[in-house]
Subunit: 244 residues, 3 copies
């Protein structure tokens, strides 16, 4: 048995962010909070999610369990919530119930969904990456660079030089190069450059709020870290290695 | 000959509401006002519409007549009106002219449309229904319950209990149950429960303004009553009888 | 070599207006400013564009040249600009670079596009037209008349009478007649009437700002003149001659 209560808009934000990356997820429920680590079907990207129990208004469980969710079905439901709804989640072995209610309201809207068996639900471990540059950016700067690249190409190159963060894309119809200096934090151990598939990044960039931290190396996976309300999200993307 | 004048936004609202329910309509024009009773082609829903002459700024007729309208063509035209336009309608035997003009404006926009012969334009009579519950709700409460159900199922169950109005839907991917207590009026003679096709209701719910009155019985047609500005609209929907 | 600087929103407006009329354009760059005259592939409409160097913040060229632009690719790029971005354009023989930067910003976004060879890039000359009526209208009055006609027909008739400007359209499903008297200027030498293809006009009407000047004759090409910020645009459309 799992019972939790939080602002519906927080859960809506989280589920919508996940829906752009993964289709199914098996969330682990522990006494400390909820979490999962998942990979996309092609094993090119990994997402790690954690939200501590202290960020829920109510949080109770009888034993550790996991909740298999069809992310898109959950998205349809949370998107029916009102901005100031309170969401109560109750799960047993087979089913999750999402109840929306205004704080002072008498109308109770109770959605039920079956829990699912998540295929390929192996446990993944977040790899350690010896990245050589860390850049913290306002989210709109990151999002603009991704969107600029998207109209030009299907891949994007990041390069952290000593005094400028470069984002480049090249396509049949043109090129784009953005020189970014509006960082919140910038640490470069050595010049670092890698190229990535753009479609994974556009989906993630939509969800980033406030700020995002980028960890970059040379032809290494990209690590993006950001928070959605109090949930911590880590996104790792394999580099696209150019054939010579 | 029929001549009438009213605010364009009132007629726009009415025609858009009708367009979601019926394709053609034969409006009866009498000295008391305009009205019609129509059924959808599958004879599952009935709509009755009345608007008294006192709600027009000008209203003149030489004899009782009926106006056969292609609702969608009329919708395209009224949707070209401006929020503060005055609409003048003039009809002869074959044609209706819709003239839009700002109250203080010099530009006159005059649309002409042929009147049509409405197929199957028999006269219908609104049936008397021995319903056992009457619930008056704010329109947003009704609309939310319909939209919640729509993401889950293609049918919806209403149940009026002594102290709560329940709306339920069940589908392959989940279920929804809404407990409504935010009524404006609630009279239950006996517990009343019926199930309806949802697609008819979603179309109507879009048009409901301010409040709606629901008359419900046991496995009986549903009766919805609401007004659009000063037009009175009554919508009756046959129940879906579950096969055992 | 060509270098110019102006507000990105001005160029965005111009490129979006052009994109609705033509696909490719060869812009002539002279010491006085930029300009071109182009026809659509079916030679039914002509557009003439001019923008003096005094309307640029910076404007430098080493010799007269022409810039062959894929209008749609340029549109995608300018639409990525922010409302208060400054746009710097730099062109050499093969390539144009569009650089966006906030006035006080450190982030530099540099888009590169190949210049193209414009097929059929003959030089056109704007014809002299002996029109017999000149009507200057607020753009919303013109735009409304075009949109009203569009829901009825694929052609539109303009008639300038001594004291009223009439716009008419007739289709299978109805008719529209607009009597316009809200002009800013109205000079009619003789009653003038012509009919035009509506699809060309709807595309142009979208782009018209503030006001538009219409020059009309009897079964003659239509001439529309308007400005976008400081660019002067002239649009000429061949009449549709009705078969008897």
């Amino acid at each position: 048995m799992f019972h939790a209560k939080l602002e519906a808009k927080t859960w809506k934000k989280i589920i919508n962010a996940l829906a752009s990356i993964i289709e199914e997820v098996s969330i682990e429920v522990t006494p400390e909070g909820i979490q999962f680590t998942a990979m996309d079907p092609s094993h090119i990207s990994m997402v790690d999610f954690r939200m501590g129990k202290e960020h829920f208004e109510e949080y109770e469980l009888t034993e550790e369990t996991s909740l298999g969710l069809d992310v898109d079905e959950n998205r349809k439901i949370v998107n029916r919530s009102k901005p100031d709804d309170i969401l109560t989640m109750d799960a047993d072995e087979n089913r999750i119930t999402l109840t929306f209610q205004q704080r002072d309201g008498e109308t109770v809207r109770k959605f039920g969904l079956p829990l699912i068996d998540v295929i390929g639900g192996e446990k993944y471990k977040v790899p350690h990456l010896d990245t050589t540059a860390k850049i913290r950016l306002p989210s709109h700067v990151f999002d603009d660079a991704i969107k600029d690249a998207y109209i030009i190409s299907d891949s994007i190159m990041f390069r952290a030089e000593s005094d400028v963060f470069l984002v480049k894309a090249e396509g049949d119809s043109g090129s784009i190069e953005t020189e970014i200096k509006e960082w919140l934090e910038y640490e470069v151990t050595e010049q670092s450059q890698s190229t990535y598939n753009l479609s994974y990044l556009t989906d993630v960039a939509k969800s980033v709020e406030d700020e995002v931290t980028i960890d970059l190396g040379n032809d290494m996976p990209l690590k993006l870290t950001f928070t959605l309300d109090h949930a911590e999200i880590l996104f790792i993307l394999a580099p696209r290695v150019e054939r010579e």
